[in-house]
Amino acid sequence: MADHPQRPGHERPLSPHLSIYRWQVTMLASITHRATGIALAVGTLVLAWWLVSVSNGPEGYESFMSVATTPIGLVTLFGFAWSLSFHMLNGIRHLAWDMGYGFNKVTATQTGSLVYVLSLVFAVGVFAFVWTGHAGYLQ
C-alpha cells in the first residue's frame, strides 16, 4: 500500500483543464462572451455615472466628458463598443442554439468566426461614423 490514491493528503487527479485543449474558435467565442459580459457589467456603472453627471447640470457633465475624452477614456469606450457588439451578436448565436439551430460543428465554427469579424466591423464602424462627423443627429 505504498501509493494508495485514497490516502489522506494524496493529490487526486484533476480533469483536463483549459491548458490541455487545442484552441478553437468555438471555445474562444465562449470565453470571450463571458469576458465581454464582465466588461459590460463595468459598463453599466459608466452608464449610471453618465446619467448622474447629466442630471447634475453643466459642471457635472463637463467632469464626465473631461474623463471620457482622454486617450484612456476613448480606448475604454471603444472596448465597450466592441464588447456590446460581440456580446449581442454572440448572444443572438446562443439564442439560435437554444432554439435548436446552428449546432452543426461546421456551422458553429463559421458563425463563431463571423461574430468576431462582424463585431469588429461594427465597433470600428461606430467610431468611424463619429470621426467622419455623422454623429450628433439628435441635436
Binding site: I38, L40, A41, L47, V54, L84
Partner: protein
C-alpha cells in the same frame, strides 16, 4: 421506483439545487429584450455624441426616451446580475464567499438601477 422527493418538490420540479429553470429562462427573456433596447441605445448615443449638454438633457427629458433608457438600464442590469451569478457559481466554491458575492452582485444591481432611474427623473424634472 420509489422517490425520496416530497410531493411538493415533485410538482415544482425542484431538487437539491433549490431552483429550477427560472434562472435560465429569465436570462433568455432579458437577452431577447436587450437586442432591440441595445440597438435603440446605440442609436441614441450616436445621435448625442458631439452635441451639447442641452441637447442631451432635452433628449433624455422626453418621456419615450426616458422610458426606453430606464428599460434598457434596468433590463441590462438584471441580465448582468444573472450572468455574474453564473460566473460566481462556476468559480467560487466556498459557501460563505459565494453568498457574499451573490449578495454583493444583487445590491450593486439594485443600487445602480435605482441610481439610473433617479437620475432620469431628475433630468425630466429639471427641464
Amino acid at each position: 421506483m420509489s422517490s425520496l422527493q416530497t410531493p411538493l418538490r415533485k410538482v415544482e420540479g425542484l431538487g437539491v439545487s433549490h431552483s429550477g429553470t427560472g434562472h435560465f429562462w429569465r436570462q433568455r427573456i432579458t437577452a431577447v429584450a436587450l437586442v432591440p433596447l441595445g440597438l435603440w441605445f446605440t442609436y441614441a448615443i450616436l445621435g448625442l455624441v458631439g452635441t451639447n449638454e442641452v441637447a442631451i438633457l432635452s433628449f433624455l427629458a422626453h418621456p419615450w426616451n426616458a422610458l426606453l433608457m430606464a428599460a434598457f438600464a434596468a433590463t441590462m442590469l438584471y441580465h448582468m446580475s444573472l450572468g455574474l451569478q453564473t460566473v460566481v457559481d462556476d468559480y467560487i466554491h466556498g459557501t460563505g464567499m459565494k453568498i457574499f458575492c451573490l449578495l454583493l452582485i444583487r445590491f450593486v444591481m439594485i443600487a445602480t438601477t435605482v441610481t439610473c432611474i433617479f437620475a432620469l427623473i431628475r433630468i425630466a424634472a429639471s427641464t
